[in-house]
């Protein structure tokens, strides 16, 4: 556990916190990136206004080089950025809002915030835990009703302060929208640099908002298509190490990797099962590609497809009982579903164009895909039986959707055309309106969004 939820009470606010054991290691070295987001589309004009003043602190203290009063403002900024990015809310502050006192945290002056047209106000505090950590409290109020809607508290390692902010934003988002949380989650992707004909591609990880960015591989071998394991401890991906195409499992804590399976054939397009015990991958044998399933601990792979042609990719349904994949057995790339033993293979995409990179939503209700047609790639969604096809993006090349943990937002990568063409990470919600670029230190592709952290 990197982040320990605690019950909040007035007593906890004002007195020394009980001592909590903290056994987790410090997070990896970070290279925070400044948000630089681009918004496309038109956001709703009636978004709920939420005032978010800087979190209060009983007295400015320095913990592990971080000042609690500075963190109070920074945490408010991350909460506001999260809620803004959701597209549903219009956060105000912390800049431009007056500071609040510790006493106000549990007794807001509602009249003040009503005056700012804020329907909701977020209050909170940051203080030293007394054991080298921080305690962060977070409260959401309805300014009209003068009532408390949600409260959360965490004892954290100082380096995890952004996670406390994301957890707070998640609590607010869930309470107001009725949707499951998604901000406190991570993304694995491929950082790109160098000329188009010889791109350097490195495995990299970051928080869902681009924070806590970290490069994993050094770029000497091409890295492609990473996926976090459900517990975030491992990343399965393709590496061209030693000029071969092979699927590796990278252990994030150990910094080591191992082959998923020993084969002289190319293996690629890996995916985890929802419980993290199985891995899907594709293997090309003599030019023919099929999909296989293997235990994450190794063993004998099970071949799931056997039709001539290219059967590739694959994504488990959230209940782990079905797999959606792509195949050109009909003459062009289309999307199919099958049971996890390979039985009952059914084509589900029938519209114009070619359909690829299917990804089953964590909610189970939709499958995201890349549709190719008219020389363009677009990201869209359909039901698991192929109905209700909706395209969410409209650019030259938008490819490889990945779902937010709550199944409401999709990240993908966008490539621009031409000799200087580059790739970048984007996200869009299911309305197709709230389209934003994700901040990454270099160009980016192949995003893979993991589950909400515990």
């Amino acid at each position: 556990m990197l982040l320990r939820p605690i019950g909040l009470s007035l007593a906890l606010l004002l007195t020394t916190a009980p001592v909590f054991a903290q056994t987790s290691p410090a997070p990896p070295a970070v290279a925070p990136t400044e948000p630089r987001e681009t918004i496309e589309g038109t956001l709703s004009q009636d978004r709920t206004v939420i005032a978010i003043p800087a979190l209060a602190t009983p007295s400015a203290q320095t913990v592990a080089g971080l000042r609690t009063d500075t963190l109070g403002r920074q945490i408010a900024e991350v909460i506001a950025a999260d809620l803004e990015r959701s597209g549903l809310y219009a956060p105000v502050g912390p800049a431009g809002l007056r500071a609040i006192t510790m006493a106000e945290v549990t007794a807001p002056r509602f009249a003040d915030w009503q005056g700012n047209n804020a329907e909701n106000v977020v209050h909170g505090f940051v203080r030293a835990s007394g054991t080298g950590g921080l305690v962060v409290g977070c409260y959401l109020y309805d300014t009209q009703l003068g009532s408390e809607l949600v409260r959360q508290g965490f004892e954290i390692q100082p380096g995890d302060w952004r996670r406390a902010a994301h957890k707070c934003a998640d609590a607010i988002y869930s309470r107001l929208s009725g949707e499951a949380p998604f901000f406190d989650s991570r993304v694995a992707y491929i950082a790109e640099s160098g000329p188009k004909g010889n791109r350097i591609k490195r495995l990299a990880i970051m928080d869902s908002d681009g924070g806590n960015h970290r490069f994993i591989t050094n770029g000497q071998a091409l890295a492609l298509s990473p996926r976090f394991s459900p517990d975030y401890k491992k990343i399965v991906y393709v590496s061209y190490l030693n000029d071969r195409v092979r699927v590796f499992i990278y252990d994030v804590a150990a910094g080591s990797q191992k082959l998923v399976t020993e084969s002289r054939n190319a293996t690629f397009a890996p995916r985890w099962s929802p419980d993290g015990t199985q891995i899907l991958y594709s293997m090309a044998v003599g030019g023919n590609t099929d999909i296989y399933r293997i235990s994450a601990n190794g063993g004998t792979p099970v071949r799931l497809t056997s039709t001539p042609g290219i059967d590739v990719g694959g994504s488990f349904s959230p209940d782990g009982r079905k797999i959606v994949f792509e195949s050109d057995r009909s003459g062009s790339q289309q999307i199919y579903t099958m049971n996890i033993d390979g039985s009952d293979q059914q084509r589900i995409s029938f519209g114009g164009g070619r359909y690829a990179t299917p990804e089953w939503s964590p909610r189970g209700d939709l499958i995201a895909f890349t549709r190719m047609g008219g020389g363009e790639f677009r990201v869209g969604v359909m039901t698991p039986t192929g109905g209700g096809v909706r395209l969410l993006t409209n650019s030259w090349q938008d490819e490889a959707p990945t779902w937010s943990p709550n199944g409401r937002v999709i990240q993908f990568f966008r490539t621009t055309r031409g000799r200087e063409g580059k790739s970048s990470l984007w996200q869009v919600d299911l309305t197709g309106v709230n389209m934003r670029r994700l901040p990454t230190p270099q160009d980016g592709s192949d995003p893979s969004w993991g589950p909400v952290l515990p």
């Binding site: 397009a269 030019g287 290219i310 792509e326 062009s332 790339q333 690829a356 990179t357 020389g375 090349q397």
Partner: protein, 172 residues
């Protein structure tokens, strides 16, 4: 095609070729395209090491190291066959040489599919070389999908150059 000879015959020709250092192509294989010549000069007086990548490129000529494919296709057409026949001649003259066939796709496919498509293309070229008598164990295959375009533009002309299988000498 009437290019198959007995293994013994090819071996004999090959040994002769290696021994002579400046061989003529076996008359059982079609001639090289005009202007590219055979490797009659490559290994003599130019400092080019016989059996090297440089020697191979000098022998097969401009773009003779690669075959091109139609969009989302992997069939080896008549022009590709002529190119691969030239390569086969050189490979028969250099029987200890191993090569890698690199399969590529243009950028109009999704990443994983393009890896599979590049594999198809490289294997199609490998299989044709094998049909000409080249031992398939001498030929590695790797697909780069759309990761290593030869032409960087986003035009039909660039795509046509990128849908390719390239033969690269990796040593003896």
């Amino acid at each position: 095609m009437t290019i198959r000879k007995s293994t013994a015959m090819i071996a004999a020709i090959t040994m002769l070729a290696v021994g002579a250092c400046a061989p003529k192509a076996p008359d059982t294989l079609p001639p090289a395209p005009e202007g590219t010549g055979t490797d009659t000069g490559a290994g003599t007086g130019t400092g080019v090491v016989p059996g090297s990548q440089e020697d191979f490129l000098a022998s097969v000529g401009l773009e003779g190291d690669r075959v091109f494919f139609d969009y989302d296709q992997y069939n080896v057409d008549a022009q590709d066959q002529a190119t691969l026949q030239n390569q086969a001649q050189w490979l028969q003259r250099n029987p200890a040489v191993r090569v890698t066939l690199e399969g590529h796709a243009d950028e109009r496919g999704t990443r994983d599919y393009n890896i599979a498509l590049g594999e198809r293309r490289a294997n199609a070229a490998k299989n044709y070389l094998a049909s000409l008598g080249i031992d398939p164990s001498r030929i590695n295959v790797i697909s780069y999908g759309k990761e290593r375009p030869a032409e960087l533009g986003s035009t039909e002309a660039a795509y046509a150059k990128n849908r390719r299988a390239v033969t690269v000498v990796i040593g003896q």
